[in-house]
């Protein structure tokens, strides 16, 4: 089963450089989180929301792309036509939920795409080419590798609790948090030890320059997309 930064990234039609993905990710989160919903910025928002959808399709994650577009569509529809017609507390609640979805989900999906379509090796190589020091890149690659595992651990703990019928009966939030957090922390400690052992085996601590066999090149479409991302940010700050 593939987790986190995938080991191979050959599948898919469009193979982007990790730096391009990072550029797009930053552009999307700046515009989606801070943007207004009128005028030029509205157009920018539509473009930004469409980018993760298209990119997810290019790596054949059709299901998640569809789910993403449906959720986003519902929340935009609610913002446009449902919210102006109701008032009071339901209005506020719906407004907040839709606001969160339409602001954060595109950036989140772009992040997910970046993590799923980039291998650890590609990520490290790209960071190396950007001259980012290793004490930043190593924790980062470990983190991206670990996030999906964390989700999986949480689901397993949830299942285990359900099987023993303690999920619903715990009323005290602190007890619930203890029941969930402590096993996660236990497995975190274990995974940290295992990863350190693995890194030792792979000679990561040997020093010296890291070599790589993966091809990282900025191609024509990478330049185009990066230029597009930059243009969007400039437009966003000008207007």
């Amino acid at each position: 089963m593939e987790l986190g930064l995938s080991s191979t990234s050959d599948k898919g039609i469009l193979k982007l450089d990790p730096r391009t993905k990072l550029c797009l990710l930053i552009a999307i989160s700046i515009i989606m989180v801070g943007g207004k919903t009128v005028g030029v910025e509205y157009v920018l928002r539509v473009i930004c929301a469409a980018i993760p959808f298209v990119l997810l399709l290019t790596v054949r994650h059709v299901k998640s792309a569809l789910i993403y577009i449906i959720i986003l569509g519902i929340s935009v529809f609610c913002e446009g036509s449902v919210i102006p017609n109701i008032s009071g507390a339901p209005n506020l609640i719906l407004m907040i939920i839709c606001g969160i979805i339409s602001r954060f989900v595109p950036g989140y999906m772009m992040g997910w795409y970046t993590v799923r379509s980039t291998s650890v090796s590609e990520f490290m190589t790209a960071m190396d080419k950007m001259h980012i020091p290793y004490f930043i890149t190593i924790p980062f690659s470990v983190m991206f590798r670990y996030f999906p595992t964390l989700g999986e651990e949480y689901r397993s703990i949830h299942d285990a609790m359900k099987m023993r019928e303690i999920g619903q009966s715990v009323k005290n939030p602190f007890t619930y948090i203890e029941y969930v957090l402590v096993p996660i922390m236990m497995s975190t400690v274990r995974i940290a030890d295992e990863l350190s052992a693995a890194s030792l085996t792979k000679g990561l601590s040997a020093g010296g320059r890291r070599t790589h066999i993966c091809q990282i090149n900025i191609r024509l479409y990478d330049w185009l997309l990066m230029f597009g991302a930059l243009a969007m940010i400039v437009l966003f700050f000008v207007f």
Binding site: K36, S102, I138, P139, M143, I177, L195, S205
Partner: protein, 194 residues
């Protein structure tokens, strides 16, 4: 720095930062309800203190906490926070570093105080409500969330609240640290994991 930084330490940084960030993110999600946004600096550190204490118990070298704070700053910046987050994160990281160093990376007391000072970075998340950023930020919110929400938020955040938030961070971090120490004692020391 007595011994040279090892790759092992960097992996520890990565894993625990991921855990810390995930817990922070989960807690931050409730921050969209206006009143909770104001209480966030108090509630947040109470929960995040527990994994943070475990992380502190693994720290052996100078600089690990600073790297964690830099990574959190970058992640927060990418997810659309203002640039002052860098100042707050790295500042809090450095202070915590010194506090932990004072306890020689072993004393539980300095870990608890460190948990309190480290949570000061959360101020970087709410700085947009105050001082020079206030007007711009609220203007940008009107379209997305509506006037009603913005009015509520503005009502909750006069300038003095910022200073109250500093105190809230410190107290929240302290409670979180004590809670974390308790959890560590109850579950991890016995198993020899902390």
């Amino acid at each position: 720095m007595e011994k040279k930084f090892e790759i092992k330490d960097l992996i520890t940084v990565g894993i625990f930062t991921a855990l810390y960030f995930a817990v922070t993110f989960a807690v931050a999600c409730i921050g969209f309800i206006p009143i909770f946004m104001v209480l966030m600096p108090l509630i947040g550190p109470i929960f995040t203190g527990i994994p943070l204490m475990l992380y502190f118990s693994k720290i052996k070298h100078f600089g690990m906490i600073t790297i964690t704070s830099i990574i959190i700053a970058i992640l927060m910046f990418i997810t659309g926070h203002h640039y002052p987050i860098f100042i707050f994160c790295i500042g809090a990281g450095l202070i915590t570093e010194l506090v932990l160093k004072a306890g020689n990376y072993q004393s539980i007391k300095s870990c608890v105080i460190g948990s309190s000072t480290f949570s000061l970075w959360m101020l970087g998340m709410v700085i947009a409500f105050f001082f020079g950023f206030r007007e711009d930020y609220f203007a940008s919110l009107v379209d997305g969330y509506g006037q009603e929400y913005v009015d509520k938020m503005m009502g909750y955040t006069p300038t003095w609240v910022f200073f109250a938030m500093i105190v809230m961070c410190l107290i929240g971090g302290l409670i979180g640290g004590l809670l974390g120490a308790k959890v560590l004692k109850k579950h991890f020391r016995k198993a020899g994991m902390a």
